[in-house]
C-alpha cells in the first residue's frame, strides 16, 4: 500500500476553518514529553511560518484578484495550523529552554538530512552547517546554566551531546562566502528539493526567533549571545536558500512547499510517540492534502505542466528524529576546520575571511567565547554532556583541572 499525496483525498478546504475551542490546544508537559516530540513541534512551526510568508510574497506578485483570494484563504488556514502547532510549546518553559530545543532541532534534523542527501555538494552544505549549530547548542547550554541555573540535559535529555563544535567565533564569514551554488531543478533528485526547503525553513525560524527574543534578556551576556548567534542564523539562511534553484517558477515553488508539508506531517505522524500530538499531525496531513491539490491546480493552469514532472515519484523515507552522535563525532573529527570561499569549502583562513573577522571582532573576544569564560569563572568548569567519551578533537577536550 503506497500513500500517494496527489490522489489521496484530504479534508476539503471549505471545511478546514477552526474555531477558538479547536485552536486552544493544551500545551506539552515538559516533564512528560519526549524531547524529539518538542523537536517535531519546532520543525513544523518553522515549516508553517515559511508557508505563510511564502504565500504572502507570492500574493504580492500576483495580479489576478481571484487567485489572490484563494491564496488568502489557504494562507489563513496555514496561519491557524501554525498557531496550533506552536501553541503546543509549554508555557512553563523559558525562552532559553526553547532556544536549546531549537538548537537540538538544528543538530539532529540537519544531521539526518545530511545522512540522507543523495547529492554530494548538497550533503557537504548540511555537514558544514550542522557543526555550527552543534556549537551553538553548547554555548546556549552554558548560558542556560549561568542565567537560569538549570541544566540543558533537562531539555535535550541524553539524546544529543553538548560539547564544542566548530567554534562560533569562526562562523562569521564574509556574506559573499555564504552564497552556495544551487541545484539544477531539471536534474536534481526531488528529495533534495525537500531537504533544502526543510532545513532553510528551520534555520529561518531560528533566525526570526533569536532576532526577536534576544533583547528581552536583562543579562548583558544573554543579549550579546543572542545577537551574535542571531547573525550567524542570517548566514545560515543565506547558505541554505542559495541551494534552491532560482529558476523554479512561483507556482512550482508553491507545489514544492505544499508537498513538503505533506511529506513532513506524514513523516512525523508515523513516528510520534505522544498520541495527542500524533492526532494533530494526522489532522494537518489531511488538511495539507487539499492544500497541495489546490497548488497543483494553480501550477497546471499557470505553468501548463504536470506535478509528476517536479515531485518525487513516491513519498520519500520519513524524516526521522533520532540520535546522530556517531555521525556528528565523525564530522567533528574530519571537518571542524572548514570554512567557505566563494561557493566552495577550504581549510585555510583566506584574506576575505580574515578581514571580516577583524572588522567584527576588532581584536576582542566575541560573546560566544565570553559565555564560556564566564561559566568557567563562576562554576569552575564548562557545561557539557559527553555521553560517548572524550571529545573527538583533542584540543577541544576540557582540561583535567577544569573538570575538578
Amino acid at each position: 500500500m503506497t500513500f500517494d499525496p496527489l490522489t489521496t483525498q484530504g479534508i476539503p478546504l471549505e471545511r478546514q476553518l477552526r474555531n477558538w475551542r479547536e485552536l486552544d490546544v493544551t500545551p506539552l508537559d515538559p516533564d512528560d514529553t519526549d524531547p524529539y516530540t518538542r523537536c517535531r513541534v519546532i520543525v513544523m512551526n518553522g515549516i508553517e511560518v515559511e508557508a505563510i510568508m511564502f504565500s504572502h510574497h507570492l500574493a504580492r506578485t500576483c495580479p489576478d484578484p481571484e487567485v489572490k483570494r484563494q491564496l488568502a484563504y489557504t494562507r489563513y488556514l496555514e496561519a491557524q495550523q501554525q498557531r496550533v502547532v506552536n501553541w503546543l510549546l509549554p508555557p512553563i518553559a523559558s525562552t532559553l529552554e526553547t532556544t536549546i530545543a531549537y538548537e537540538q532541532v538544528a543538530v539532529d534534523l540537519t544531521a539526518w538530512v545530511a545522512r540522507m542527501e543523495p547529492d554530494p555538494y548538497l550533503k557537504q552544505a548540511y555537514e558544514f552547517g550542522v557543526l555550527e549549530d552543534f556549537d551553538h547548542l553548547y554555548r546556549y547550554a552554558n548560558l542556560f546554566e549561568m542565567v537560569e541555573r538549570r541544566k540543558a540535559e533537562k531539555v535535550v535529555d541524553q539524546l544529543t551531546e553538548v560539547m564544542p563544535g566548530r567554534p562560533t567565533k569562526m562562523h562569521h564569514r564574509h556574506p559573499y562566502d555564504n552564497v552556495r551554488d544551487p541545484y539544477d531543478r531539471t536534474t536534481v533528485d526531488p528529495l533534495s528539493k525537500m531537504h533544502a526547503l526543510t532545513v532553510m525553513s528551520a534555520e529561518q525560524q531560528t533566525m526570526n526567533f533569536y532576532m526577536n527574543v534576544g533583547p528581552q534578556y536583562m543579562e548583558p551576556i544573554a543579549r550579546q549571545l543572542y545577537q551574535e548567534i542571531g547573525l550567524i542564523e542570517e548566514e545560515h539562511v543565506t547558505h541554505y536558500e542559495s541551494l534552491v534553484d532560482p529558476g523554479e517558477t512561483w507556482w512550482e515553488r508553491l507545489v514544492n512547499h505544499e508537498y513538503n508539508e505533506v511529506y513532513l506531517y506524514h513523516s512525523f505522524m508515523t513516528q510520534e510517540s505522544d498520541p495527542r500530538v500524533r492526532a494533530i499531525w494526522e489532522l494537518h496531513l489531511n488538511m495539507e492534502l487539499a492544500q497541495l491539490h489546490q497548488a497543483v491546480e494553480l501550477f497546471r493552469r499557470h505553468d501548463g505542466r504536470e506535478p509528476e514532472e517536479i515531485l518525487p515519484r513516491e513519498l520519500p523515507v520519513p524524516v526521522t528524529f533520532e540520535p546522530n552522535k556517531e555521525y556528528l563525532r565523525h564530522l567533528l573529527a574530519t571537518q571542524i576546520d572548514l570554512t567557505t570561499l566563494g561557493a566552495g569549502y577550504v581549510r585555510e583562513a583566506h584574506e576575505r575571511f580574515e578581514k571580516m573577522q577583524e572588522a567584527l571582532h576588532g581584536g576582542e573576544q566575541p560573546p560566544s567565547e565570553e559565555v564560556i569564560d564566564l561559566h568557567r569563572e563562576r562554576f569552575g568548569d564548562e557545561y557539557r554532556i559527553e555521553t560517548e567519551g572524550p571529545h573527538p578533537v583533542e584540543r577541544l577536550r576540557e582540561t583535567a583541572e577544569a573538570r575538578r
Binding site: 508537559d29 516533564d31 508555557p91 512553563i92 523559558s94 546554566e145 542565567v147 537560569e148 541555573r149 538549570r150 541544566k151 540535559e153 533537562k154 541524553q158 536583562m218 563562576r378 562554576f379 569552575g380 568548569d381 557545561y383 557539557r384 554532556i385 559527553e386 555521553t387 560517548e388 567519551g389 573538570r403 575538578r404
Partner: protein
C-alpha cells in the same frame, strides 16, 4: 562514559536571584525524581522535596516578597498574586503528605502540585525576580542571598497554609533568639 556535572556550591558566589533560581531548578529535579522512583526512594525524594519547598517558600515570604513589594512596579499586586499561589501550593502539599506515596491518588495529587509549583515559579521568575534584580544594587542582592539562607535555616520544614506573611511565619515556631537573628540578617541585607 557520561559526564554531566553537579554544582552544589556554585550559588555561594551568586546573588539572591541566582540562589532562588538554583532552588527552583532543584525543586524541578526533585519532582522528576519522585515521579521516576518507587518505594523507599520515592518516599525519600518526596521528603526532600517537602523540606525544600517548605523552607524555600517561607524564606521567599520573609525576604523576597517584602523587598519586591516596595521596590518593583505594582509590587503589591505582584506579591499578592504570588502569595495566593503559595497558599494554594501549601494546601496541596499538606494534603499530599497525608497520602501513601505508593497510591495512584498520590501520583495524581503530586501532578497537580507539580504544575502549580512550576507555574508559580515561572511567574516569580518573569514578573518578580528580574525586576528585583533591576531595582537593587548587586551588593545588596548578594546580602539578600545570605539573609535567605539564614531564613531557610530556621524555617518550618513542613507546609503551613495560611501563614504567608513574614511575621506569621516567624511566629510559627523558632525561638525568639533565632527570629532576631533572621531579622538582623534581613535588616543588614536591605541596608544601603
Amino acid at each position: 562514559m557520561t559526564t554531566t556535572r553537579q554544582h552544589p556550591e556554585e550559588t555561594d558566589r551568586g546573588d539572591v536571584v541566582d540562589l532562588l533560581l538554583a532552588q527552583h531548578g532543584r525543586i524541578e529535579e526533585l519532582f522528576r525524581a519522585v515521579r521516576g522512583s518507587s518505594g523507599r526512594a520515592k518516599q525519600e525524594a518526596f521528603e526532600e522535596l517537602t523540606h525544600l519547598l517548605s523552607i524555600h517558600e517561607t524564606a521567599e515570604e520573609e525576604i523576597v516578597h517584602p523587598a519586591a513589594r516596595t521596590s518593583i512596579d505594582a509590587g503589591d499586586e505582584v506579591v499578592q498574586a504570588r502569595l495566593a499561589e503559595e497558599h494554594d501550593a501549601k494546601e496541596l502539599l499538606a494534603g499530599l503528605m497525608k497520602l501513601d506515596v505508593q497510591t495512584p491518588e498520590f501520583d495524581a495529587e503530586l501532578d497537580r502540585l507539580r504544575i502549580a509549583v512550576y507555574e508559580h515559579a515561572k511567574r516569580e521568575e518573569r514578573y518578580e525576580f528580574m525586576q528585583l534584580r533591576a531595582a537593587h544594587p548587586p551588593e545588596r542582592l548578594v546580602r539578600m542571598a545570605g539573609a535567605l539562607r539564614a531564613a531557610e535555616k530556621i524555617a518550618p520544614t513542613r507546609p503551613h497554609p495560611g501563614v504567608e506573611s513574614a511575621t506569621k511565619n516567624l511566629l510559627l515556631g523558632p525561638p525568639t533568639a533565632l527570629v532576631d537573628r533572621v531579622r538582623d540578617a534581613v535588616r543588614d541585607a536591605m541596608r544601603d
